[in-house]
């Protein structure tokens, strides 16, 4: 019964995600005139294997095994299912029928339909096989993957993004450092702050202090203020500097349910 529900839900999810991934990926070949949904790495990799059904298939297969291991281990598909497995397998299947790019990889309609079918099969397979695995495997996965993942998220990712921001120029380095440090304090992870620092730093470098970049900076500051409030950082901040928390702030927090 449990398996049946998982299977039914997987079919629905796989169809939806597959369809959107296929259409979005095919539209990338028409960006920026057509707004697309995908990723630069997907675009590059699909171009790299262009025209060869076997290359697309084996490329997807490598990531499929990785996704399978991760799903069995931790229930997480990895982003590769939508980025690499579904689009590349869909192209591979379409190429068997026609070698014309406009009839396969660049055609949103054909990619959408084929990706929906592949999505259904892939998602159902991953979910059904992994929801019936022995407990010893799950324990191993938790013991191995969770510590590794925690280190990756809290230390490795912030450092990589931070160094990238510093190397990208003075503005993104400065803003990345300020927002990164604040994000680590307020949000518990520096990555979002560093990303926003790069975004604004490079934006200012490329187009200068226009209305767009000023609005962006304003929105980012607002985001920080709201996150700080809703995570109770403002109260903690005052307390750690041995200051008293004003009554109106406490009232504000309790009225917001925080």
């Amino acid at each position: 019964m449990h398996i049946l529900i998982v299977l039914m839900e997987s079919v629905i999810i796989g169809g939806l995600v597959g369809f959107a991934a296929g259409v979005g990926a095919a539209r990338m070949f028409n960006a920026p005139t057509v707004q697309a949904l995908g990723a630069f790495r997907t675009l590059g990799e699909m171009n790299a294997a262009e025209g060869d059904a076997a290359s697309h298939f084996s490329f997807g297969l490598g990531f499929f095994f990785n996704a399978w291991a991760s799903t069995v281990g931790a229930g997480a598909f990895t982003q590769d299912v939508t980025h690499r497995v579904i689009p590349n397998w869909a192209v591979s299947a379409l190429l068997l029928r026609s070698k014309d790019m406009n009839e396969s990889m660049h055609n949103p309609k054909k990619m959408g339909i084929m990706s929906a079918l592949i999505g259904i099969v892939v998602v159902a397979f991953l979910n059904v096989t992994s929801s019936s695995i022995p407990a010893a495997l799950q324990v191993t996965a938790v013991k191995v993957l969770v510590p590794a993942a925690t280190l990756l998220i809290n230390m490795v990712m912030p450092i990589i993004f931070w160094l990238a921001a510093i190397d990208a120029g003075r503005r993104s380095g400065l803003l990345g450092t300020i927002f990164g440090g604040l994000a680590a304090l307020i949000m518990g992870n520096a990555v979002p702050g560093v990303v926003l620092g790069i975004l604004i730093g490079k934006g200012v470098e490329e187009i200068g202090w226009t209305r767009i970049t000023r609005i962006m900076l304003g929105a980012v500051i607002l985001l920080f203020i709201l996150s700080a409030f809703f995570r109770g950082f403002d109260v903690d901040l005052l307390k750690s500097f041995s200051l008293s928390v004003p009554q109106w702030l406490t009232n504000w927090h309790s009225s917001m349910g925080g």
């Binding site: 990338m28 960006a31 931790a74 998602v123 929801s131 495997l137 998220i153 187009i207 985001l223």
Partner: protein, 220 residues
Amino acid sequence: MENDLKDLEQAKSFWFADWAFPIIVGIMSAGVFAGTSMYYNYGVGAFNEVAIVAMLKAGMTDGAYGAAAAFGASFLFARVLEGSLVGILDLGGSILTGVGIGIPAILLSVGFEAPVKSFPLALLTGLIIGVVIGGIIYVVRHFTIGQSKATFGADVMMGAGNDTGRFLGPLIILSAVTASIPIGLGATAGAAIFYAWKKPIAGGAIIGAMILGFFFPVKL
């Protein structure tokens, strides 16, 4: 000639038009959000990296959803801004992380469990969120398109994002070593075999650790 006319007609159709974009994002979000719902109920099916799903998992076990919520929401915000400017909305950051992890974490942190727990509600919630995000991009795009050719550092972020993946393999081996000696050996051997086969070593490390962990189980 007739075919050319047909092509032109198609260019204005659902498959290429900007107005279709919110619908496509809506469909994607519905599926991804429902995937998170399935993860919440059955422990499988989240469309994201182990590391990011682990943040949601942390919230599910001890109720501290702050990290997942802030991480997901900030990524969503940054990617929506970037997506409308460069013409490609980054699927991973915006939908998989933002809608799949950040928004469920926000809902769960304020005790609003129904949209995540119920599968039909999750589909509907995801669809609405996706259409709204797609709509915002549609609007921003129409106000900013042609105004600038800036990339807003998209290349820098893509590069850093791809580098991150490379660290996971060695980290998994290091963490397997602390779990137990057999699991550590299994992870090392698996990674080495995958490397020789020119596959990502993280996958080999996980499979190696699992096989040895099956024969020599450890306690949680």
